[in-house]
Amino acid sequence: MATSDVKLLGAWPSPFALRVHIALNIKSIDYECLEENLLAKSQLLLQSNPVHKKVPVLIHHDKPICESLAIVQYIDEAWSSAPSILPSDPYDRAVARFWAAYIDDKWFPWLNGVANAQGAEAKKAALDQVREGLVVLEEAFGKCSKGKDFFSGDRIGYVDIALGCFLGWVYVAEKRNDVKLLVEDKMPGLAAWANKFCEDGTVKDVMPDKDELLEFANMILEARAKLNASSNN
């Protein structure tokens, strides 16, 4: 397949775009990566995702696919040869989709909520909630992995991708708030999983550097704070 057949519109800090990078790597697909400037979105992005105007967008044979988990499932279905990203059994697939939905609908908004929390009490509550979510995911990891390295077993799969893409941002939240979220004695499974995930061949080269992400986050959050301060005057 020609390289230009598969294009990914992404942005290096985006955990959602990272999901797609990993999925493409799992399938060893050659692709062209187009880095979007989210403050000056390209015509291609606006045309390809007119509804949300967001990354990631996968363009395959000139047809756009939007929404990171829809894209990951598309990749699994369009390139159906091994290795597969979702399990083959319908029940196992349902369990995987359930946890991916939990991560997107519940856990990620909590992680996002940490940056938005105003004041020490709200921050602590937000951080506690993220940790509670990780405890739930620790239990899920135990059940899904059945003693193996990843949620999907021996290799990275759907839930690994869905959660692992946020590890850089977990690090950011930990550093910015001087706390530990992925606490080894409370979440031993996830702590070990996180290291293996980041070291995996499909992830290593596409995951953004954690300290660069921290610098980026600091910059954005400081800019936002200044904006809020000036609009409150």
């Binding site: 696919i65 939007c66 929404e67 499932q73 598309y74 697939r93 359930f98």
Partner: protein, 236 residues
């Protein structure tokens, strides 16, 4: 009703509540496939131990139990049904079309369903914001519905309903009731002629029509939900 490919030993149970559009979607999916199932009405104030053990994360309906194995979350359940019973497909076969169907299902859930729920249980500025977001979502959906031309009256292919139609089905009856209870307007046949036409066609389907609930019954129930939620906020 014949049960298609369901073997005699298979047990399909649906934990639901009569007023829930989420549960209704699962029922539509099961009926679409001709799957026989046992329906169990859950008392959401006194949740059964079956519900609590089957869906410990959310403790909500719908939950599908297939041979004792629980599946929760409406869209996850519908995809499970589609992949387990392969006749009468709900999602399209082509991967790109499937991705589009999943995109729109997610859009409806996040941009419409969630904000309509917020509009039901809030007032003042919070409600206004939710209604504004719901109206924006309706505009986008109207644009998609306008693309349905000629023989194609539903989002599912081959002149039949599919995944997006089942997910959008909460427009039929529930949104109207929530509008009245919440005191806002969302559906407008003038502004959304294509959605209006989609609803009119959907509710007439032999599969759907008998499942729709009387408006008055839904009104009483959602009025109760709104009052309870507003009272809870007032107490804080």
């Amino acid at each position: 009703m014949t049960s298609g490919a369901v073997l005699q030993e298979e047990q399909v149970k649906l934990l639901g509540s009569w007023y829930s559009p989420f549960v209704k979607r699962v029922e539509w999916a099961l009926k679409f496939k001709g799957i026989e199932y046992e329906y169990v009405e859950e008392d959401l104030i006194n949740k059964s131990s079956l519900l609590l053990t089957s869906n410990p994360v959310y403790k909500k309906v719908p939950v599908l139990l297939h041979n004792g194995n629980p599946i929760a979350q409406t869209l996850v359940i519908i995809e499970y049904i589609d992949e387990t019973w392969k006749h009468n497909p709900i999602l399209p076969q082509d991967p790109h079309e499937r991705a589009k169907a999943r995109f729109w299902a997610d859009f409806i859930e996040v941009k419409l369903t969630d904000v309509v729920r917020t509009a039901l249980i809030t007032q003042g500025e919070q409600q206004e914001k939710a209604v504004k977001e719901a109206k924006e979502a309706m505009e986008v959906l109207e644009g998609e519905a306008a693309k349905l031309k000629g023989e194609r009256v539903f989002f599912g292919g081959n002149n039949g309903i599919g995944y997006v139609d089942i997910v959008l089905g909460l427009m039929c009856g529930w949104v109207e009731v929530i509008e009245e209870v919440g005191g806002f307007k969302l559906l407008d046949p003038q502004k959304q002629p294509h959605i209006h036409k989609w609803v009119a066609n959907f509710v007439e389907l032999p599969l759907i029509k008998p499942t729709l609930l009387p408006k008055e019954k839904l009104m009483i129930h959602f009025q109760m939900i709104r009052q309870a939620c507003l009272a809870l906020v007032a107490r804080k």
